[in-house]
């Protein structure tokens, strides 16, 4: 398997929220210093939580970190939202 090495980068002072869906994921970035952007991201987060999505906060990329969160954290570097797993 060969995959193009494109990186998801989060600029300084920014947070990135990824909602997993059939398109891959929908990404929303906010600038922690911009209240409007933070509010928009929080609204999006809360809407998705109401729809039953689980939210994970991820920092760095060591593949072992992750924390489930229930409230929007504007200081998070990455937030990933996904519907709860179901038994297959």
């Amino acid at each position: 398997m060969t995959v193009q090495e494109t990186e998801i980068t989060v600029p300084e002072h920014h947070g990135l929220m990824s909602t997993l869906d059939r398109s891959g994921d929908v990404r929303q970035m906010w600038d922690r210093r911009n209240k409007d952007e933070v509010d928009a991201a929080r609204t999006q987060f809360e809407d998705l939580k109401k729809k039953g999505y689980l939210a994970y906060k991820a920092e760095g990329k060591d593949g072992h970190q992750g924390e489930q969160i229930r409230k929007f954290d504007p200081d998070a570097e990455r937030i990933i939202l996904v519907k709860p797993l179901v038994g297959g």
């Binding site: 997993l20 891959g24 797993l85 179901v86």
Partner: protein
């Protein structure tokens, strides 16, 4: 022989097939049919559809050859199926009673009249040209539909590829370099669950692809199946599985179904116990 402006495209398929299996009608038979109701000749010439629409019958009396008194009720289909031509008889139209009367000879049923009569019809040049034009239009529409379907399929393929690419990008952003290398080279990556268990997420679809591994060794203990409910790209599902494991693998176990479990060493399967 009347003009033959029948538009074959309008003949029901079943009747056309049947008509092809029947002998062509004689000129006498056609003349008889025209004689039944001469004032309908114009409609007759305009085509069997018109002609039949104009014709009417009463089935109950139409089947009686001896009384020969049928009223004309709107039912061309029934009339044609029910009525049969006669061999050696002549049908005459009685304008006074508005009935057709077969006279002379024996009344021998041969074949449904309309079908026999229709069998002799041929399309005219104009009709052929019109039919070919319609066929061309149909083929053109089919080509357009085919092109639309192919374009839609190509678009969907592109969307899938883009989604898979984005999903891989996201998974890559969550995995360490070693995990990513294993995912690419071996088709799996391993994570430590919150409980400390060793888990292996295999890149083999997203169902039954999560193995609980022993602390040492490469043989799995259990294979679990739990995945996102929507059909996400595989790499997204693997990211979701990884996040579920590292944050709460106990919950993952409660949710997942067991696909496979290694039998403890020395344990004899039930079906072998009785034999032993």
């Amino acid at each position: 022989m009347p003009a033959q402006p029948l538009n074959n495209q309008e003949v029901p398929a079943g009747l056309k097939v049947l008509a092809q299996q029947l002998p062509a009608p004689s000129a006498e038979t056609l003349a008889e049919l025209i004689a039944v109701q001469p004032e309908k000749r114009e409609a007759f010439d305009a085509g069997w559809v018109t002609w039949n629409t104009g014709y009417t019958t009463n089935i109950s009396t139409a089947t009686s050859a001896t009384t020969s008194a049928w009223d004309f009720q709107p039912a061309w289909g029934a009339w044609n199926v029910t009525f049969t031509s006669t061999t050696g008889s002549t049908m005459v139209y009685d304008a006074g009673s508005n009935t057709a009367i077969p006279v002379g000879g024996s009344f021998t049923i041969t074949a449904p009249q309309w079908v026999t009569w229709s069998a002799d019809y041929q399309e005219t040049e104009d009709q052929r040209a019109a039919r070919e034009e319609r066929d061309r239009e149909v083929r053109e529409r089919q080509r357009e539909r085919q092109a639309e379907m192919e374009a839609r399929a190509a678009e969907q393929r592109l969307e899938r590829e883009q989604a898979e690419s984005r999903a891989l990008e996201l998974l890559r952003s969550l995995l360490s370099d070693a995990q990513w290398a294993s995912y690419q080279d071996n088709g799996w990556f391993e994570v430590r669950g919150k409980s400390g268990r060793r888990w292996r997420v295999r890149n083999r679809g997203q169902s039954g692809n999560v193995d609980l591994m022993p602390e040492i060794g490469e043989e799995r203990d259990v294979t679990y199946c739990a995945h996102p409910p929507e059909h996400l790209p595989d790499a997204d599902a693997h990211a979701a599985q990884m996040l579920a494991l590292v944050t709460d693998d106990e919950a993952f176990i409660r949710t997942a179904n067991v696909h496979w479990r290694r039998r403890p060493e020395g344990e004899v399967p039930p079906f072998m116990r009785e034999a032993a």
